[in-house]
């Protein structure tokens, strides 16, 4: 059935940030944390309401760790964990997983690579599914024939993406923001073609190691069982060697790139690198962004670009904090003939917000949404798992969720304005326009 959604919810990244909001109405989230003997960090929320267990294991093995010229290694390594492991081929692994009714999903971004598993918590299903996850994490085989096939599929996907204005724009935007920094490089036909099996073996050996493993567990097991699960999943992982930190990000000079394309709509990207995870300006910037372009239908950008002028179906802004300063990004798509007009509205909206900050009424409304909506953002095991994984991977304090409401409440209009003025600058603002007239 073809369902046409009215408006795309403002973008995964805001809901991701908002997933860390907390309201006092709900009992505090009790995160239990410990470290296994070989150094894996474990985060656990016990919940017996549903007979479900969700587990995620992440490593510092994301795309930023790709070797130079071999962009794509991290994604292929993660993607091939279930392509053959522990003497079982990919079909046998898939059958086992399906016979248990379990679900496996992969996670790869700039910083992280990992696997999440959802299973029923009955001993038979749980033990079978966890044994399977253990096999994938500790005994992957990366068969050469499967690698060739997966490379071919990835290359086909890259070629297809290179015809699409949104993909073209996103790549150019990353490049313009980060240049040669690992966050600026994306996989290409050439980089994937150059990848050999040893690259995957090496990436796995260097990065899938216990001291940089983060295990998140949510659901229907006891603490004792969770401890055993964490040991089971990570006990066989090697200690590895210390890893150099990612290089620092150099701020880009303001630039506007225009890329010709025959699409009906222009795809517009505006932004700059701003914020790391754990950044002291996190709260003023996030609360401010809710008002500017993160708050979906009630944001200033939506009001100015969509509601008042009908220029776009979707317009948004977000901060995506990462290990190194992640992007602040504004995005929209509009009929190509009005791209310049729409961009002007975006520029004026951003400039106005930076100059004057939010009104008192806007700030009150933002706080009400972020604080009172806390329960909605943690109302399922799945959402809790996502929050836990972020807290664990980036080493945020264990009371991060429970302190969230008071931190939001404490933000003042002056702090928002000051943080935006200090952290964003017209001198560093990058614009990418695909298919503008």
């Amino acid at each position: 059935m073809n369902t046409s959604f009215r408006r795309a919810l403002s973008r995964a990244v805001f809901s991701f940030a908002a997933a860390l909001a907390v309201v006092p109405a709900m009992a505090a989230v009790d995160i239990q944390h410990w470290v296994t003997p070989n150094g894996a960090r474990v985060y656990f929320v016990e919940s017996h309401v549903l007979p479900i267990l969700d587990t995620q294991v992440d490593f510092d093995a994301g795309a930023a760790r790709d070797p130079v010229g071999r962009k794509g290694v991290a994604a292929l390594t993660q993607g091939m964990l279930d392509a053959g492991a522990g003497g079982l081929d990919e079909d046998a692994l898939a059958e086992k997983l399906s016979d248990l009714g379990a679900q496996l999903a992969g996670v790869v971004d700039n910083d992280r690579a990992g696997v999440s598993l959802r299973t029923l918590s009955n001993p038979r299903e749980r033990e079978g599914a966890l044994a399977l996850l253990h096999t994938l994490l500790t005994k992957p085989e990366f068969p050469a024939a499967v690698l060739e096939r997966e490379k071919a599929r990835m290359i086909a996907g890259l070629k297809e993406a290179d015809t699409k204005p949104d993909s073209i724009g996103a790549k150019r935007f990353a490049r313009a923001l980060y240049g040669d920094h690992p966050y600026g490089r994306t996989a290409t036909v050439e980089s994937v073609s150059a990848i050999v099996r040893d690259d995957l073996l090496n990436h796995y050996r260097v990065h899938y190691v216990a001291p940089r493993a983060v295990v998140s567990i949510v659901g229907d097991v006891t603490r004792t069982q969770a401890e055993a699960i964490a040991l089971q999943l990570t006990g066989d992982l090697p200690a590895g060697e210390p890893l150099a930190p990612l290089p620092a990000v150099t701020m880009p000079q303001a630039t506007t790139e225009r890329i010709a394309h025959p699409a009906n709509q222009s795809h517009i990207f505006v932004g700059q690198p701003v914020m790391r995870r754990g950044d002291p300006d996190f709260f003023p910037l996030q609360v401010g962004n809710y008002i500017l372009g993160g708050g979906g239908f009630v944001s200033r950008l939506t009001k100015e670009v969509r509601e008042k002028r009908g220029y776009a179906y979707s317009v948004y802004s977000y901060f995506n904090p990462q290990r190194q300063p992640g992007p602040f990004q504004i995005g929209l798509q509009t009929q190509r003939s009005q791209a310049a007009d729409a961009l002007k509205v975006v520029d004026e909206t951003l400039a106005g917000f930076m100059a004057k900050g939010p009104t008192d009424e806007e700030l009150r409304a933002a706080k009400r949404n972020l604080v009172d909506g806390y329960s909605l953002r943690l109302d399922s095991n799945r959402k809790l798992l996502e929050s836990l994984a972020v807290i664990g991977f980036y080493g945020l304090p264990l009371d991060w969720l429970n302190k969230f409401p008071e931190r939001v409440q404490a933000v003042t209009a002056a702090q928002v304005r000051e943080a935006f003025q200090r952290r964003l600058s017209a001198d560093n603002m990058v614009r990418v326009i695909v298919a503008g007239d």
Partner: protein, 461 residues
């Protein structure tokens, strides 16, 4: 066609997300009530978190439109946020956000629905807001004009600049000559250009009435309190006469149809649709359940046949998918599709996909495959309970398509009772040449300096 969505076991979600028998002792839950004016309320209590999912569903969608005004159901859905006699444009969203919630709406061929996720304490306000816009919507000319532009941008974004979406749109227009599923939900661009405020007003007055709607609430609520709130908010509304629905049945297809879509892209794409039955009699039908299981065996999970044999095995494709939804108001299709691997042709992929169905027709399916589908069915029932949204959607979708939410359990049992012989039988019966429709994306080089194709001028004035 979004292949990812296509291959993610959508085939299963129509039926396989019913209430779990073994873990749901209180069989009274959900609870249902009907007002004298015909409005029904279905409440499922779920006390894990202090939240409520509130939905209002209207039994009207794009399939109830007529030629010349396609897209009006979806545009009206947008306009429902543009103010009532007592509420300014945009205020609905503002109130929901101010209470900590989020809201949205969606339109399909079969239905139009509105929802809010809110802290449970905000539910009374949501019920009042929805009741208000069921009766008191104002469609201002300026707001209409601006929102129409937004919808046109939505069409450009989701369809006109998406070759895969164009293939789907044109395949539906080919598969159905007469039945209204031939028209896109978002509407043809030229029809959007010709829409007027009075078209939207007429749509609203024709279809938005308590006797054409139902309320679904899932969350941390007391059903009796919800019943009282709904009574208070909607009780004074009158039953409205609803138009007779004249849904054109599709005449029998008597020969295969093939179309080509040319668009800037890198990879070709294949999408095939056969006409198959949908579920009419929950108790006595057998074939729709067998078709659901067939779709699951072909493409319902990691070990299913299409990805295993065509992506991993023969490597003829980089992506493959199967899709069938037995629970729809209108006529059903069974779709197969994919993207050929480099060096393989669309024709080879077509032959390979059809060979997979033929193999089941000739040799049947194994006991293990059948058992696997049943296992996944049970598991998905439990996983569903982690989301109030998914639970509310299940209830709403079944009701929209003309079933009752109570049918969920029976449908689940029926799927689990499907035999290997029944799967083989539908594979034999429904996949012939004469009811086949094929759409192929013929990728064109992307000329950076080309301009979009001109469309015929609209009648806009």
């Amino acid at each position: 066609m979004d292949l990812r969505r296509f291959s993610n076991g959508i085939a299963l979600c129509g039926l396989l997300a019913a209430t779990l028998l073994l873990a749901s002792p209180a069989r009274a839950n959900p609870y249902e009530m009907k007002l004298d004016n015909g409005l029904r309320v279905i409440v499922k209590e779920d006390h894990r978190a202090p939240v409520a999912m509130h939905m209002v569903w209207y039994r009207v969608g794009a399939m109830d439109e007529t030629d010349g005004t396609t897209g009006v159901a979806h545009l009206l859905e947008h306009l429902m946020f543009k103010g009532t006699k007592t509420l300014k444009a945009g205020e609905f969203n503002k109130i929901v956000a101010g209470l900590g919630g989020s809201d949205n709406a969606f339109t399909s061929h079969d239905y139009t629905a509105y929802f809010q996720r809110v802290p449970a304490v905000a539910l009374p306000r949501m019920i009042k807001l929805e009741a208000d816009r069921m009766r008191n919507l104002l469609i201002d000319k300026d707001e209409f004009e601006r929102e129409l532009k937004v919808v046109m941008e939505e069409r450009r974004l989701r369809t006109d600049d998406q070759p895969q979406a164009q293939v789907y749109e044109q395949l539906m227009a080919t598969t159905f000559n007469a039945h209204p599923y031939r028209r896109p939900v978002i509407g043809w661009m030229n029809d959007l250009e010709n829409l007027r405020p009075e078209d939207a007003r007429a749509w609203y007055h024709r279809w938005y009435a308590p006797n054409n709607a139902y309320v679904v609430v899932v969350g941390d609520v007391d059903h009796k309190q919800v019943f009282d709130l709904v009574k208070k908010a909607y009780g004074g509304m009158k039953v409205e006469p609803l138009p007779v629905r004249k849904i054109t049945a599709e005449p029998p297809q008597t020969g295969e149809r093939r179309i080509v879509v040319k668009a800037p892209a890198e990879l070709p794409q294949l999408l095939m649709a056969w006409k198959v039955p949908h579920l009419k009699d929950v108790e006595h039908d057998r074939e729709p359940y067998a078709l659901e299981v067939l779709a699951g065996i072909l493409d319902g999970h990691a070990a299913s046949r299409l990805p295993r044999n065509l992506v991993r095995g023969s490597q003829i494709a980089t992506e493959v998918g199967a899709n069938y939804d037995s629970t729809s108001r209108g006529e059903a299709t069974f779709m197969l599709g994919g993207t050929p691997a480099r060096g393989k042709s669309v024709a080879e992929l077509e032959a390979a996909l059809r060979a997979e169905v033929r193999r089941i027709a000739d040799e049947g399916v194994s006991a293990e495959e059948l058992e696997r589908i049943k296992t996944l069915t049970v598991a998905s029932q439990i996983y569903k309970r982690d989301s109030t949204y998914v639970q509310a959607m299940e209830i709403g979708r079944l009701e929209a398509a003309g079933y009752r939410w109570q049918d969920e359990d029976l449908m689940l049992d029926k799927v689990r009772s499907v035999t290997a012989e029944e799967v083989q039988s539908v594979a034999r019966k429904y996949f012939g040449d004469d009811t086949l429709n094929v759409a192929v994306l013929d990728p064109q080089p992307v000329d950076p300096n080309a301009k979009p194709r001109p469309r015929p001028a609209g009648l806009r004035h």
